[in-house]
């Protein structure tokens, strides 16, 4: 940085992403509170630890290989050539946005005075990875081993979500080019995949003891601490707002980027480098949150747990197109997503005996899938990328956004990269005898040993008079 304008742009961008990372940390705080609030007393501490430990596990593996996958896999490989080097192989050459710069031994993966952006960008994506893993965490509480969850968290957080991000959330991703996939704030690339992955794990893991009666009727195991759930979900909303900002590029001149001679157009862009504004996505975030809350209150008949979750489901459903929707479109789409998610949750629970302890599959998975499909219709015909009219990839093109492409995209997110790997990995862990805690432990409570160990001290303190 040798001139003041490039220094200001660079340092502003660095600081912008840094702020989003701090805000997004609240998502994880929220998930921890929410899960503990939803779990029973005898499982509280284990539930907290399980979700907390995904932070270091996903971070370490994100450093070792997760970040590299994002930059290497946009082409498939083998599905569509890169606009950078026109090859369909893994992007590991010397081009500007190659994975070669993000191997863990690269000198860009450390304090480097010539690169202010890679570190904060790495961190922003890492926070997305924690979220993907944390979504799965809530669904499987009170019966999964910490070992198994650690493996599954790494799989979704540092492997499968980052593959889908390379495919459908990268300006060079093959899903944009072939399917016209558009998912600006991650209805699919984080929420549908994590919901699908959770469902795959749940299908193998089985329900908590007592969840279903002998005749197969589901029983409600409600949140034990509604206040913790409330604060948790408010924090998730707050962090989600930071996530929206993190999905944008804050300042960019699209004129030269698209190869337009003599044109200067400074704007914020979404992750695909197509224009939007921070104002628009803020309006849409709030309107979809409101639509979700209003719909949730009605469909759940005022149940606070589902009403709060519906606020989240509403935002998730509208997120795919919230860079371009009108706020009222966003509002209505959120309401549709909540109706779909709530009803599908109870239908799947009864039909397949799936015990999703916090409704994660519904709120993230079903609402995310609904959001992708709806986006295909509402944004039908919009360009999936600005580069199709530019000079970067002469002679080829990106497909426009369309209903069929978005429907196939939803299947890829929820089914191919979500449900299937979750189910297969859970089967392997089950085969090793490592997936589920012993029945005796589930009945006694995962915290039994902690409580038992502290018993004598606690009693002595309670009966002390001096």
């Amino acid at each position: 940085m040798t001139d003041q304008l490039s220094a200001l742009t660079t340092i502003f961008t660095e600081f912008y992403y840094w702020i989003t990372v701090v805000l997004m940390f609240l998502i994880h705080v929220g998930f921890c509170m929410y899960e503990v609030g939803a779990s029973r007393y005898k499982h509280h501490q284990h539930t907290l630890m399980k979700n907390t430990m995904l932070i270091p596990l996903v971070t370490v593996t994100w450093f070792l290989f997760g970040w590299w996958i994002y930059w290497a896999f946009p082409t498939g490989p083998g599905l569509a050539p890169s606009i950078m080097n026109e090859s369909a192989a893994l992007i590991t050459d010397e081009s500007a946005f190659s994975a070669a710069w993000y191997v863990p031994t690269s000198d860009l993966m450390g304090t480097n005075l010539n690169d202010h952006i890679s570190g904060v960008f790495w961190a922003a994506f890492l926070l997305f990875s924690w979220t993907a893993a944390s979504i799965v965490s809530g669904a499987v509480i009170e019966r999964i081993t910490t070992f198994a969850f650690g493996i599954l968290a790494i799989a979704i957080g540092s492997v499968f979500w980052t593959i889908d991000a390379a495919w459908g959330w990268h300006f060079d991703g093959w899903m944009l080019k072939i399917l016209g996939y558009h998912d600006a704030y991650a209805s699919g690339v984080i929420h549908a995949i994590a919901g699908g992955f959770a469902l795959g794990v749940l299908a193998v893991l089985g329900p908590r003891i007592g969840k279903f009666s002998s005749s197969g009727e589901p029983r409600n195991i409600g949140p034990r601490n509604p206040w913790l759930v409330t604060i948790g979900l408010f924090l998730i909303y707050t962090g989600f707002w930071g996530f929206y900002a993190a999905c944008n590029i804050p300042i960019f001149d699209l004129g030269p980027e698209y190869g337009m001679e003599g044109v200067t157009f400074w704007t914020a862009t979404n992750i695909y480098v197509t224009p939007t504004t921070l104002g628009a996505i803020t309006m849409n975030f709030l309107m979809s949150l409101s639509g979700g809350l209003l719909a949730g209150y009605i469909v759940a008949k005022g149940d606070p747990f589902w009403t709060y979750s519906s606020g989240l489901a509403g935002v998730i459903c509208a997120s795919a197109g919230n860079d371009l929707y009108h706020p009222i479109q966003s509002f209505v789409i959120a309401m549709v997503g909540v109706y779909v998610a709530y009803n599908l949750h109870y239908w799947v629970e009864r039909k397949f005996k799936i015990d999703d302890a916090v409704g994660a599959v519904a709120v993230h998975g079903y609402a995310g899938v609904a959001g992708l499909i709806i986006c295909g219709f509402v944004l039908n015909g919009y360009p999936s990328s600005g580069y199709s009219v530019g000079a970067m990839w002469v002679g080829t093109d990106y497909a426009p956004i369309n209903p069929l492409g978005m429907f196939i995209g939803a299947i890829i997110m929820f089914g191919v990269l979500g449900f299937l790997p979750g189910w297969i990995l859970a089967k392997i862990l089950q085969g090793m005898g490592k997936l589920r805690i012993p029945r005796e432990v589930e009945l006694a409570g995962l915290d039994y040993t902690i409580l038992e160990d502290a018993k004598s001290d606690e009693r002595a303190v309670a009966s002390s008079s001096r």
């Binding site: 007393y41 370490v60 863990p104 000198d107 304090t111 910490t146 409570g445 039994y448 309670a462």
Partner: protein, 73 residues
Amino acid sequence: MATVSNWIDHLSAAEVQGAVYPGVGTEGILVLVLAVIWIGWHVMADMQETRKSKAIAKKRPGSNDWKSNVTDG
């Protein structure tokens, strides 16, 4: 080990070297250390968890026994 010993010399060079952390060139060893700690953690955590679970399973406490271990006073 120090990559920079004088900031004035470093920043006035014709081409500023970007990486300034100690031990530039030893990244391979650092990555190996991280990988060993990562895998080792899984092994140790699994051993601890299995041992704890087996102890509880052997004792077979009832579903409500935990309540007698909670003291709020």
